[in-house]
Amino acid sequence: MQKNKLVGSVLVVGGGITGMQSALDLANAGYYVYLVERSGAIGGAMAQLDKTFPTNDCSM
């Protein structure tokens, strides 16, 4: 593959806990990230949870 063909950006589809982690790690490593989310806000299923094991921390 030719180096000049490579595009230094990544599309992340889904802004839950997983997609956010991908987006953050890529952006912090020097890549441009497009984060696309279906609903009106990122956060995904984890934002719906009350508390999480094992510390009973608030999920938010």
Binding site: V12, G14, I17, D25, L26, Y31, A45, F53
Partner: protein, 935 residues
């Protein structure tokens, strides 16, 4: 979404649905939702509550901007009929004419993380869901338990609002159940969430009785079994192993009658006032559509198909996946895969790193040291959040009278983008040299204001926040006078503190762009290869004389991929890689330094030593198998461990070949008082072996004696297949372990049969022990060298169980694979890739900037008593000697600013004012306290 092109250069079309609210204008004041007449069932609250047709998804939503639900908005359905929101919006943000937009994006790779849905029991009405109001799903319970949920965290019966006294959790609803829903797999997370919900519900109301009805308790993760035991023994949650036959209404008040057969075989009827269905995970229709449009393959269970050796790569090159889309999994593993997908994408795109990423630029800093004090105070209304309960005008007027304050401004939302622009203008026009924002919490907003004042040419630390919302208006809603007084007090304290604040410099640390990976098993090799493929040089240290670790001795992964073959391929790639230096027969003997600047000493078997400079450290030291001392192991020839059995099977040993009766005993050394955890892989391993034996000769009698069958996720298909092939599964409990004795040449295995309720005697040709996985020798020393913690079981302890699963609390150090906890190959590789991605966020730059809030030593006051050295949790303080003006040697401390996190424990401990944290100097804190008491 439409995707064309190929890896490295995809073109993607994305459709953006209109919000009908202008994001730039909306200030999230909530007026629109107050006036909106249309109530809609709230999917965020899993249908337990209502929202309006104009809404924010949840109060902490990012972005915090309203949106209109087009399906329910009265105006959008019939223009002209309502429009209440547009009439009240103070920001003129409502835009009914908005249309969908198509974006065309160029991207080098694509990561699909659409997540998972939950099984919807309303289609089947299972256990009366939909018919009886007090039968709810676990997600609904989650919302009832949440302070932001429909009952503000009070657990009441949906039918009549009465407090819940007795709750039953029914496991495996929509999982492990082909008949009900076609979902044969185990959803992996429900056992743990049910236990957590039961414990939290009981925390809310200690008198509550909680029972969990389950088939197998699958608490196979790190610290999961301990949590299970605490729930049982300390929180008094009742666990009952059975499938409930049915749920029926009892009387008219909403009580529910459950009937089941208990473990003693008795028919039981019991009454509950809430039944919670532990619904499983399943791929949503939208995610399936996404898979179709992306052209990636799904498994028969509708999860993204991946290889165990490339757990985040889909069937299409350059398209990656992570999270529950590729199989049911919990939060830590999802977060791990999020990072792993980043690593996999970065491997492809490494040559284009920094090609498109942009850096913010700021104007040069104004030197304010010679200037007179000119403080600006910005008082925030936060819509009605503050202004509804505090007379903000009075607070602003009062602030103007404080010493040093030259400008005061009130803002509807101090955090909105237009206010930031306004603030910059005001700071510059009034030549302000300190800024106070009286608004919400610095935890969420300080960074934003730091950037704003930097953009105005000020040092970012010339700033203070007064939290007049979370600590004031939210908690004093009933007393406006007192709340206004307190807001004034808090602002006065902030002004007093910022008065003594000078400019601080951020700490810049250079980074050695080289990685050290300790441990050359599958995880270590995967991490080293990914880092090297991203262009970073790696030193890979291996204790033994060969690379491959446990991978050399294993057989197949759960999905049937040959492990030794793939491991050998990885060894080849490592040995030929220009950027990887392999050090076999080598140990780390000394280590010093900190993130970006580690120096490790390694020593090889022939005695030669070498120093290595590296910016990050990845620990992948793996784990060992336990050598058991029970069930006649090492006494009877045909009692073997699972790994030994694999070897005998492979070489077609005659005892295996001719064997007719095999007994597998699970949890040998796991889940007991010595090793109080599940070794995670053994159930699947035994089931796989049983299937092979049975497929080879169907007349063989094969028994698996287990405590809980933990074939989690899609592994459940193996368990099912084994049962269909006639493998006999017999449950035993810890207090009734099987007994193995040898009579002549035959092994007798005695076990209590819970179905027949009598002891069972099995004549076995071979007994195979599923032995525990334990931490290897030497990890304690390694942990001490790098000052990283081990958990109670001797595995390395990550920074945060959920959100930082491969980081250590100390920056620049990472952990992956079985060094962290027992796990199968694909989870080890995902962790290795994740560690690599996390490491790459550091290695991709020449230097890193740390904030300026660091401890500083006052050499005049510090007498080197070293009290602070012991309390520092980050090992940032060392005791030094220096020669004073009097020619004498004096002791004093020295702070490593790269280690220091500015927590202030040293300052609180120091009896001599010898150390203080910049930005929290004693002068500042004293002024703040004096200001607090000044009325």
């Amino acid at each position: 979404m439409e995707i064309t092109g190929e890896v490295g250069n995809f073109k993607i079309k994305i459709k953006e649905h209109p919000r009908y609210v202008d994001m730039d204008k909306c200030i999230a004041c909530g007026e629109c939702a107050t006036k909106c007449p249309k109530k809609v069932t709230d999917s965020y609250n899993a249908g337990t509550g209502k929202r309006k047709a104009i809404y924010v998804k949840y109060p902490q939503a990012v972005p915090l901007k309203y949106q209109i639900d087009a399906e329910n908005c009265i105006w959008l359905k019939k223009p002209g009929r309502c429009g209440a929101c547009a009439k009240v919006c103070p920001a003129d943000a409502i835009d009914f004419d908005a249309v969908e937009k198509i974006h065309e994006i160029d991207a080098g790779s694509v990561i699909l993380s659409p997540g998972t849905g939950t099984f919807d029991p309303s289609d089947t009405g299972v256990y009366g869901y939909g018919e009886y109001p007090n039968v709810i799903t676990a997600m609904q319970l989650e919302r009832y338990l949440s302070a932001s949920g429909p009952t503000e965290g009070h657990l009441v019966r949906p039918s009549d609002g009465k407090p819940v006294r007795k709750v039953a959790f029914l496991q495996c609803v929509g999982s492990r159940d082909k008949n009900l829903c076609g979902n044969e797999y185990c959803s992996s997370v429900c056992c743990m969430y049910a236990i957590k919900e039961a414990v939290i519900a009981k925390d809310h109301d200690p008198g509550l009785e909680a029972s969990i009805f389950y088939m197998d308790m699958r608490t196979h993760g790190k610290e999961f079994d301990e949590y299970y035991q605490r729930a049982r023994n300390e929180s008094d949650v009742r666990f009952i192993r059975c499938r409930v036959n049915g749920v029926e209404p009892e009387g008219k008040d909403g009580d529910l009658r459950l009937h089941y057969v208990n473990e003693q075989g008795q028919q039981i009827e019991d009454y509950f006032d809430l039944v919670v269905l532990s619904v499983g995970l399943e791929t949503t229709k939208q995610a399936m559509e996404l898979a179709k449009r992306s052209g990636i393959r799904l498994t028969s269970n509708n999860f993204a198909a991946v290889s165990d050796f490339a757990p985040v790569s889909t069937s299409k090159e350059g398209v990656f996946t992570c999270g529950a889309f590729s199989g049911p999994k919990d939060i830590p593993q999802s977060v791990v895969e999020g990072s792993a997908a980043a690593a996999a994408a970065a491997k492809v795109l490494a040559p284009s790193r920094h090609q498109l990423a942009r850096k913010k630029t700021f104007p040069e800093e104004r030197d304010i040291l010679a200037e007179d004090l000119r403080i600006g105070v910005f008082v925030c209304h936060c819509g009605s959040n503050i202004a509804g309960y505090v007379d903000v005008e009075a607070v602003a007027d009062y602030s103007a009278t404080l010493p040093g304050v030259v400008h005061v401004e009130r803002n509807l939302f101090t955090c909105s983008q237009d206010t930031q622009d306004l603030m910059i203008k005001i700071i510059q026009e009034n030549r302000l040299n300190r800024v106070v924002v009286a608004a919400c919490t610095p935890r969420t907003h300080e960074q934003l204001f730091h950037e704003t004042i930097r953009a105005a040419g000020l040092n970012e630390y010339l700033f203070e926040m007064a939290n007049i919302r979370n600590q004031n208006s939210w908690v004093h809603t009933g007393d406006k006078t007192a709340a206004t007084q307190k807001a004034s007090d808090l602002t006065r304290m902030a002004v007093a503190k910022v008065t003594w604040q000078g400019p601080l410099e951020n700490v810049v640390v250079p980074i050695t762009r080289r990685a050290l990976v300790i441990g050359g098993g599958i995880s270590g090799m995967a991490a080293a290869l990914n880092l090297a493929n991203q262009g970073f040089p790696v030193d890979l240290i291996e204790k033994s004389k060969v690379l491959g670790g446990n991978g050399l001795h294993l057989h197949n992964t759960w999905s049937g991929e040959n492990i030794p073959l793939r491991a050998a391929r990885m060894v080849d790639q490592i040995m030929w890689h220009d950027l990887i230096t392999v050090h076999k027969d080598t140990l780390v003997t000394a280590a010093e330094g900190y993130v970006g600047n580690f120096k490790s000493t390694i020593k090889s078997g022939n005695g030669s030593e070498q120093n290595i400079d590296h910016g990050v450290t990845v620990i992948t030291t793996g784990a060992n198998r336990l050598m058991p001392d029970e069930y006649g192991y090492r006494q009877h020839k045909n009692v073997v461990s699972a790994l030994e059995f694999d070897k005998l099977y492979e070489i077609k040993d005659k005892h295996v070949r001719k064997g007719k009766s095999f007994v597998f005993i699970q949890c040998v050394g796991s889940r007991d008082s010595n090793h109080n955890y599940c070794s995670k892989v053994c159930c699947t391993h035994s089931v796989q072996a049983a299937i092979e034996l049975k497929e080879e000769d169907s007349s063989r009698r094969i028994y698996i004696l287990y405590r809980d069958m933990r074939t989690y996720g899609q592994r459940e298909t193996l368990y099912k297949k084994a049962r269909e092939l006639g493998v006999v599964f017999i449950n035993y409990e810890l207090h009734g372990k099987p007994k193995v004795t040898k009579v002549d040449d035959i092994l007798d295995v005695e076990v209590w049969d819970h179905v027949l309720h009598r002891p069972l005697l099995i004549h076995a040709d071979m007994v195979i022990l599923a032995t525990a996985i334990i931490p290897p020798a030497g990890v304690k020393q390694l942990a001490q060298l790098y000052k990283v913690p081990l958990d109670g079981q001797g595995f390395f302890q990550e920074a945060h169980a959920k959100l930082r699963p491969v980081d250590f609390a100390t920056d620049g150090l990472f952990v992956a694979g079985m060094a962290h906890f027992p796990k199968p190959v694909e989870e080890s590789i995902a962790q290795a890739l994740a560690a690599s991605a996390r490491a790459a966020t550091l290695l991709s730059r020449d230097e890193m900037t740390l904030d300026g809030i660091k401890a500083e030593v006052d050499p005049e006051c510090c007498d080197g008593c070293a009290l602070c050295v012991d309390v520092c949790p980050y090992h940032a303080i060392t005791l030094m000697e220096r020669t004073g003006d009097d020619g004498q040697n004096h002791k004093l401390i020295s702070i490593n600013k790269a280690h220091c996190k500015g927590c202030g424990l040293c300052q609180g401990t120091c009896p001599k004012r010898g150390v203080s944290v910049a930005g929290f100097s004693l002068k500042q804190l004293e002024s703040q306290v004096e200001a607090a008491l000044a009325v």
